[in-house]
Structure formats: C-alpha cells, structure tokens
C-alpha cells in the first residue's frame, strides 16, 4: 500500500520536497501578491496533472481542457456572484437582487439554470460533476466512434472555441466577454482579504498534494498499467478483453473533474472568470505546462506549470517584446529535444549520474542532441501510430 500511494522511497522524498517548497519555502519567501500568483499557477497545475493521466499515460491528447477548467470555474463564480448580488448591494440596479450584467442586458429575473447555484453544496458538487458529465458525453461519443490521435485533439480544440464563442454570444446570461467579475464573499467569508488569500493558498496546496497522491495510487495500480498499455498497443489491450473505449472515457472524465476543481480554486483566488480562460490558447498552454514539466511525471507537471508561469510573469515584466520568442523557443525545444520534459532530464541525469550526463550533454552538437532525443523517445514516450 505504502509503495502504491507514495511511489516507494524515492517517490516519497520527491513528494516531501514539493510539500516543503509549497507549504514552507514559498509562503515565507514571497509577499502575499507573489504568493497569490503562485496559488493561481497551482490551479493550472490541476489541469496539468489530469493531462499526465490522460495524455502522458493514456496517450490521448485533449486540446480542450480549458472547457473543463472553465466549467468548474463558472460554477463556482455563479455561486459567488449570486452571493454578491444580494438586493441591498444591488439596489441601484433597475432589478435589484440579480447579477449586474443581467441588469445591463434587461433581464428581469434570474434564468432557470442559475437558480440552483444559490446553494453552496450544489455549487461545490457542480464544480466537479458538470465538467465530468460534459467530458463523459463527449468522450463516450468520440471514443466509441474510435476517434483518436490528432482528430480527437482537433475536435476538442473546436469544442474550446465553441464554448468560448457560446459564452461571448450569450452575454446576458453568462457575463459574455467580460466574464463574471467583482466576486466578494464565500458563505459570508471575504475571499479578498489578505488572510483569506493565505488560507486559500494553503487549501489549494493541500488539495493539489492530495490529488497527486490519489493519482499516484491510481497510476501504480492496474488502471495505470492498462492506460499505459492502451497508449502503446491499443489493439492488444482490446483483444485481451478490456473495453478500451470506457478506459479512455474514464481517464477523460477524471482529467475533466480535476480540471474543474482547478477552475473553482482559480476563481476563489483571482476573484473572476472569463472566456479568456476557456478558449483555444489557454487550453494549449496547459498542455505545454505538462509537456515542459514531463508528461509522464505528476510532480514534473506541477514543476513545469510553476516554472513556465513564473518565467512568463518575470519575462513579460523585464523584456515585454522578447518573452513570446522565449516561450515559443521553449516549447519547440522541449517537444523536440526533451519529449519527457524536465522530469525526463532529471531521471536520465539521476540514472547516468550527473557528471556523465553533463559531459554527454555538453559534448554533443545540436545534431547529436537530436540523436539523444530519439533514444529518449525510444522508451516510454513513443507515440502510438495514430
């Protein structure tokens, strides 16, 4: 049991290292503004974790995780918005008691699907259930029809576009392009106060570590092995009596549910949600976080998310013109030279011992580096023939 939950001794030490970083090192060294930023990045890490299971292990690349991150976020935002739109604080509106953007668009009453979000338990449930149900319907329809590889990626990308356009187009009911803003309290507790920012940060870290442990248990069991086998030899698994489509659907639903939790925590820490979190660009960026960190390693995905976002924030402040070059260059380098991402380099270095690794790395020209890439990609990262 110990081995499966924490991935053996080395797994435990890595996990402990991350816990120390998140619970001690960062809160002590960063002011609340930077810490809140880290908290925001960690909410993206939830999506990256889901992608490690779905894509890294299962070989199914979804470019639509923004849809599930957004759905979870919007469910939480709807509850917070209703709580912030009590009749007293919205008395200057022509119809008090309803969210401001509805008043601007001449809505006289709360639309039907908003009413259940008045209750906190329902909303918290919806944060996980809504993305999971959407993922189940889409996944079942697609995997049963054996849609896979690049087609699946493109269709999920189209879904991300559809949802963001759908939100833009129905501004009266969804808040449109501005999104849902000015969220103040959760069950009376002011989420904008500095003290609550700290609490929300620690809650996010705790939930993240719990998710990592849970996924570690899952991946080390038969479910994980089956997903890995599906990625490498789908036919063999199918003809060993597994309903492969249902396994893919369950991985897709799991990744969606986790992304939904990430979306809700994002709303709590940043205080608003908008279609810009749902569309094509954020969805691909979240894939890149997992790719940079290492698509086969849960911890790698978290570190990848932190590194890319911190870089993005720092870079864009210091040289605003060049940071897109840096980001683009980083993505290409990771995907071509280090398909296993930073975690891959870390494992390779650990196995070969740092000195040999550095010498090997330094000695090789760019062309040889590519040679190294093909050996690296020869093992687990080999893409199934789509």
């Amino acid at each position: 049991m110990f081995k499966r939950f924490f991935g053996g001794r080395s797994g435990l030490t890595n996990l402990a290292l991350l816990a120390i970083l998140l619970f001690a090192v960062l809160p002590l060294s960063l002011d609340i503004f930077r810490l809140n930023l880290v908290g925001k990045y960690l909410t993206y890490a939830f999506v990256a974790l889901g992608l490690v299971v779905l894509w890294g292990k299962g070989g199914v690349l979804s470019l639509g995780q923004g849809v599930f991150f957004g759905l979870g976020g919007y469910c939480m935002a709807m509850f917070l918005k209703l709580e912030a739109s009590d009749p007293i604080s919205t008395k200057i509106q022509s119809t008090p008691g309803i969210p401001d953007f509805m008043d601007w668009n001449q809505l006289k009453a709360l639309p039907a699907f908003w009413v259940p979000f008045k209750s906190l338990p329902f909303s918290l449930l919806a944060v996980v259930v809504v993305p999971s149900v959407v993922a189940f319907i889409v996944g079942l329809a697609m995997f049963k029809r054996r849609v896979g590889g690049v087609y699946f990626a493109i269709i999920t990308q189209a879904l991300a576009l559809i949802l963001s356009l759908g939100i833009d187009g129905n501004q009266g009911v969804t808040g449109g392009r501005n999104g849902i803003t000015d969220l103040r309290t959760l069950w009376g507790w002011d989420i904008r106060a500095q003290s609550s920012q700290y609490i929300l940060y620690f809650v996010t870290c705790f939930l993240l570590l719990a998710t990592i442990v849970g996924l570690q248990w899952l991946l080390s069991g038969r479910m994980g092995k089956t997903l890995g086998a599906i990625r490498d030899r789908e036919d063999r698994v199918r003809f060993s009596g597994y309903d492969v489509d249902l396994f893919k659907v369950s991985a897709f639903v799991l990744a969606a549910g986790i992304a939904g939790v990430g979306g809700a925590l994002f709303v709590l820490q940043v205080g608003f949600i908008s279609p810009s979190l749902v569309g094509i660009v954020p969805s691909i960026e979240m894939v890149i976080f997992a790719a940079v960190g290492g698509r086969h390693s849960l911890l790698g995905a978290v570190y990848g998310t932190l590194i890319v976002n911190t870089g993005k924030s720092l870079f864009s402040e210091t040289f605003p013109q060049l940071w897109l070059f840096a980001m683009g260059g980083l993505f290409i380098a990771v995907v071509v030279l280090f398909p296993n991402g930073l975690a891959g380099i870390w494992d390779l270095a650990r196995r070969q011992g740092w000195s040999k690794f550095v010498r090997a790395k330094a000695g090789t020209a760019a062309a040889d580096a590519v040679g190294l890439a093909s050996t690296l990609s020869a093992n687990p990262a080999k893409e199934g023939k789509s």
Binding site: M142, F325, V336
Partner: protein
C-alpha cells in the same frame, strides 16, 4: 418585412449565393495548403496561419515599395506580389521542415505542440518587424469596387478575384498531386515511406518539397486575403481552427473531400449567418461539424480501406 418585388428578392438570393461562394473560395484557399501538409503528409502544422500572415505581409511590403519607388507599377504589382508571397512562404517552409519538422514525422502530437511554439515565435517576429498595428496594402484599383450585372446586383470584384485564384490554384494542386511524377512520389512516400525509399525515391527531399509547397500555397492564401481583410501579427490565429476542420471534415486523404467540405461549411455558415445571429451562427456551424465528425470520424470522403 417590407414588401419586395420578385426581382429584388432574386438579386438578394444571387448575392447571398455569391457570398457563400466567396466564403467557399476563402475556406478552400486556406485549406488547400493544409490538405497537402496535414491531409497527405499527416503533419499537424499549427503555424499554418502564420505562413498566411507572411504572405499578406509580403504583399504589404511590395505595395509600400511600389508606392515609394515606382508608383507607375501600381496597377500591376499585385500579381507579382502574390508570386513573391508564394516563394517567400515556400522558402520559410523549406527552412522550417529542415530544422524542425523532419525530426517529428513519427510523432504527430508532438509536431502539433512544436508548431504551436513556432507560431508564437513567428507572431512575435511579425510584431517586432512590422509593429503591433494592423497594416493594409493599397490595392490596385482594378481590384476595388463591384461589378454590376443588373441594377440591384453588386458582385464584389475582390470576391471574384479570390474565386478565380482559388480555381487556378486548386487545379494546379490537383495536377501536381495526381498527374505529375513529383506528385506521385509524394503520394507514394506518404502511403509507404519504407517501400518508396527502397525503390529509390529520396523521401527526405520529397517531404521537404511537399511541406514547402503547402506553405507556399498558404502564403498565396494570405496574399489573397489582403483584399478582404487586414493583416496583423496574430491574424493567422483567426483562421487555424476553421482550416483544420475543413481538412478533417473532408476526409484527410482526399483533395476532393477538402473541396466538398469547404463548400459545405461555407454554405452552412452563410445560411446560418443569414437566419441566426452572427456569433451564434458560427457556433451552430462548428457544432454541426463536430457532431457530424463524431458520427463519421473518417470524414466525408475517406475510402474504406483494408487497414
């Protein structure tokens, strides 16, 4: 609805049909290059939009050069500019294939991510050289305005131009693919790389030429779009989802599929936009495509092959 004479309704119907046709030629022109790169070669090039933007910027460069140095050439520069756009985009395609794509042939999903990184780099390169503002080349006057067959019908000339260009290009691509030795080599390499290599085809070179040809066509598409839209550093990202859907929806392996799917999507979109509201029209079309793809994942024209 105000009272309309039959002829007025008829002219609106013609113009709406024309709007559908011109959207069809826009979609097809965009998808043509990708039909080769993604359809035939299976390379997922998310930077396809940026090659279009490059073509548009080349036309803008030519128009400013002509304005400053040789205003007399104003009416003729446009066609030359399109040819230059093709060459520029093809050369960039050559460079990109050599430096990046050829390492990723066996890894389609990784190509997708790498070319997304490439699109970011190209976007920033455009922003640094041409600035953040949208630019528009001054078009020759024979391209402007509309041509009026009857009193109430206005056929935009630039629409006709884009359609003619699409016709010519599609024909050229069809001839190249199905009637030329180079095209034969390319299809052979795509279907069975090992055997093609075994019979002496230089598969590496064929891949490079095919990829740069696809990029060149994207450059021409971008050049043609300067007649109907503006060009900015990230105008390429506007087209990318539609382009991929056209190719996937048509069934990747067949050029005929791409043509048919561009036509279907264009008519669907113009009908939806006419009756539905703008944004929701686009959502309806996208939803329709995704649902049909779920029912028939191999696309409209995929042949049933003994896999």
């Amino acid at each position: 609805m105000l009272a309309y004479s039959a002829s007025e309704l008829w002219s609106i119907f013609i113009m709406q049909g024309f709007a559908g046709l011109s959207l069809f030629s826009v979609l097809l022109l965009m998808a043509l290059g990708l039909a080769i790169i993604f359809g035939q070669m299976g390379v997922v090039n998310l930077a396809h939009g940026e090659f279009m933007a490059l073509g548009a910027y080349v036309v803008y460069l030519c128009s400013t050069l002509v304005q400053n140095h040789a205003p007399a050439l104003q009416p003729y520069y446009f066609l030359v500019a399109i040819a230059i756009a093709f060459v520029a985009a093809a050369l960039l395609g050559l460079l990109v294939e050599w430096s990046l794509i050829r390492y990723l042939y066996r890894r389609p999903l990784d190509t997708l991510l790498a070319t997304w990184g490439l699109s970011l780099v190209l976007q920033q390169a455009f922003r640094s050289t041409f600035g953040a503002r949208e630019v528009t080349p001054t078009l020759p006057d024979w391209l402007m305005g509309s041509f009026k067959p009857t009193e109430s019908i206005d056929i935009p000339i630039n629409g006709v131009f884009v359609m003619a260009l699409t016709l010519v290009l599609t024909g050229a691509v069809w001839l190249f693919l199905y009637r030329s030795r180079a095209g034969l080599h390319m299809r052979a390499t795509v279907q069975n790389r090992a055997m093609s290599g075994a019979i002496g085809i230089n598969t590496g070179l064929v891949d490079r030429l095919a990829f740069s040809l696809g990029c060149g066509i994207a450059g021409v598409a971008g050049a043609a779009f300067t007649t109907i839209g503006s060009t900015g550093p990230d105008s390429g990202s506007r087209y990318i989802v539609d382009t991929f859907l056209v190719v996937v929806f048509g069934g990747t392996a067949s050029l005929l599929g791409t043509i048919a799917s561009a036509f279907g999507i264009a008519q669907g979109q113009s009908v939806c936009e006419f009756f539905l509201q703008g944004t929701m029209g686009k959502v309806a079309v996208l939803l329709g495509i995704v649902v049909i793809l779920m029912i028939r994942p191999q696309g409209l024209f995929a042949s049933k092959v003994r896999s």
